[in-house]
């Protein structure tokens, strides 16, 4: 498998097209946090919103445009994060970042399991310039969660 094939796995191309969680939503009663992130190189943007219900992330929705890697990454993020607790989200976030640092090497089976479709991004690690694309949504998540936690219910 060439580096390119490893990066653009079918599951990534599919997520980029399907964009799970696309369309901002603010469920009533939840604490809402939002973040806007821009990739200055290409002007790609993501606006990501989280809805916190106590310690649980009740909703993750987003808008924006970008390359297939950035779009697919937020789509996968939505699937992974929605419904988790803050602690679980933080763990998933760290695991995804760690995946990027592997430079294309396969992750531990445990991490692989945990990240599910997210493991498909392993090939991105071979392209340092694209890691930023894959992390754009995750940076927005981190920031949005901080905002949400500042909200008094």
């Amino acid at each position: 498998m060439s580096g390119l094939e490893q990066m653009y796995q079918q599951v990534i191309i599919d997520h980029a097209r399907e964009r799970h969680g696309f369309g901002l939503d603010s469920p009533a009663g939840a604490r809402i946090g939002e973040s806007h992130q821009v990739n200055p190189v290409c002007g790609d943007e993501i606006r990501l919103r989280v809805a916190l219900d106590g310690e649980r992330i009740a909703g993750v929705t987003w808008e924006g445009h970008g390359c297939s890697i950035s779009q697919a990454s937020v789509s996968v993020l939505h699937d992974l994060i929605e419904g988790t607790t803050l602690d679980e989200a933080s763990e998933l976030s760290s695991a995804f970042r760690a995946l990027m640092d592997l430079r294309g090497d396969p992750p531990d089976p445990e991490i692989d399991d945990m990240l599910g479709d997210g493991s498909a991004f392993v090939g991105v690690g071979r392209y340092p310039a694209r890691i930023k694309c894959a992390l754009l949504g995750w940076m927005a998540l981190k920031d949005a969660l901080i905002q949400a936690q500042k909200e008094t219910r």
């Binding site: 060439s2 580096g3 390119l4 990066m7 653009y8 079918q10 191309i13 097209r17 190189v41 290409c42 002007g43 790609d44 445009h65 970008g66 390359c67 297939s68 890697i69 392209y127 694209r130 694309c133």
Partner: protein, 425 residues
């Protein structure tokens, strides 16, 4: 070929591409490579003649100073500048900023009465174009903010040409300075400098030319163009990184206040008062990019030896092959006109591919050993105007061959297929 195949002069071009095979470098509008001659000139200087310039009485200082000033003359000659009309800067961006921030300083009374002609205030206007690189927009936005002057701009049409119908109203008696590019790094268009300069002169406005993309590819003579200031970069014209230059008409440069302050710029300094030297010294604060100046002069010599008329002809021919080729691929949109003839363009092509993000386009090309640039190329307003958020850009230099263009065109033809839903292919 207007000149011999020069590819062998550029050591880096022989290295392998990512997945092995030939490297097709089409990112020269971002930055170009240095020929061995240019590397050698720098290396030899460092190994034999380096010392502090403009200050020492010892042998190395003397040799370094002579070489440094000879480099300035060589570069001046290359762009039609006279003695004292070339100031070294870090890059083209710094050159343009030096004019804008000098005007900002003058507006705050720095530089005294001789600098008053550069002062702006409320009621004055600054004009740029919608086609500019950020380096020729933001400094003027900030200058407007500092002085209360208004920022206006010449718009661009759907294709990318400057719209000059309203020129006389946009550039008027209130216009104090007009900054515009010689050629666009996105559409490749070479703008009608003469027409713009004429209008600026008619209303007594200063002109500042962003010559970053023209100097590497065209014979450029700033005196003949009649602009007051111009900036360009070494690293786009086969020279080293870390150096650029500002051209300024002599009388003007001597009156523009400096905006970076330090050693070698002054006549006298006390704790409370400083008097400045004339140009170029007043602008070159601190130790200079000496080795890079030597390298840039060597690059100018290399280009002159090829002949800038021949370089331009080569570029024009590649422009035609590239832009015709790109625009004839299905689902690919070329930004700017195909151009050529009375609609002159540089040897570059920025384009979008239907349904595929530029980053993804660039990645597939890279996999085929083709280096292109992706993004907004520091021209967000122009991209916005052309209805593209970003684009992929291929760009040529003297070492670019027909074969390079053909490889790009072939790989580009396959990009949409690569990202098409797999069932559909």
């Amino acid at each position: 070929m207007p000149f011999r195949d020069v590819r062998a002069d550029f050591p880096i071009l022989t290295r392998e591409a990512r997945e092995g095979g030939r490297l097709t470098y089409l990112d020269s509008a971002a930055t170009s490579h240095q020929p061995a001659d240019v590397l050698r000139a720098q290396e030899e200087f460092v190994r034999l003649h380096y010392g502090a310039v403009g200050r020492g009485a010892h042998l190395l200082a003397e040799e370094a100073t002579e070489a440094f000033e000879a480099a300035r003359s060589a570069v001046a000659g290359f762009v039609g500048a006279g003695e004292g009309e070339i100031v070294w800067t870090g890059n083209a961006t710094a050159a343009i900023n030096l004019v804008a921030s000098g005007m900002g300083a003058a507006s705050q009374g720095i530089g005294g009465s001789e600098s008053r002609g550069f002062a702006l205030g409320a009621g004055d206007e600054i004009v740029v174009t919608e086609s500019e690189h950020h380096a020729n927009i933001i400094p003027w936005q900030v200058l407007a903010r500092r002085t209360g002057a208004a920022l206006r701009w010449i718009p661009v049409d759907d294709v990318g040409h400057l719209v000059l119908d309203g020129l006389d109203s946009i550039v008027n008696e209130r216009t104090k300075v007009m900054a515009f590019q010689h050629a666009s790094n996105v559409t490749g268009l070479i703008h009608p400098v003469g027409r713009l300069v004429d209008r600026a002169r008619a209303v007594g406005a200063l002109t500042v030319l962003d010559a970053c993309q023209s100097v590497p590819h065209l014979p450029v003579d700033f005196a003949a163009l009649g602009v007051d200031f111009a900036g360009f970069s070494g690293h786009k014209m086969l020279g080293p990184t870390g150096i650029g230059a500002l051209y300024g008409r002599r009388g003007l440069l001597d009156a523009l206040p400096p905006s970076v302050y330090g050693g070698s710029t002054i006549k006298t300094v006390t704790m409370t008062e400083t008097t400045w030297l004339g140009a170029p010294a007043r602008f070159e604060a601190g130790s200079q990019p000496v080795v890079q100046a030597i390298g840039l002069a060597a690059a100018a010599r290399y280009l002159s030896a090829l002949g800038m008329t021949q370089v331009a002809a080569h570029d024009e021919r590649l422009a035609n092959r590239l832009r015709t080729g790109v625009s004839s691929i299905e689902g690919v949109r070329l930004l700017g006109p195909i151009g050529g003839g009375s609609d002159p363009v540089l040897g570059l092509a920025a384009f979008t591919v239907e349904g595929v993000h530029p980053h993804d386009v660039g990645q597939v090309l890279d996999d085929a050993g083709i280096a292109v640039r992706v993004g907004h190329h520091c021209a967000q307003p122009l991209h916005a105007r052309l209805g593209a958020q970003s684009s992929t850009r291929a760009s040529a230099q003297v070492y670019t061959s027909d074969d390079d263009i053909d490889r790009l065109l072939e790989a580009l033809s396959g990009v949409r297929r690569y990202f098409a839903p797999k069932g559909a292919s």
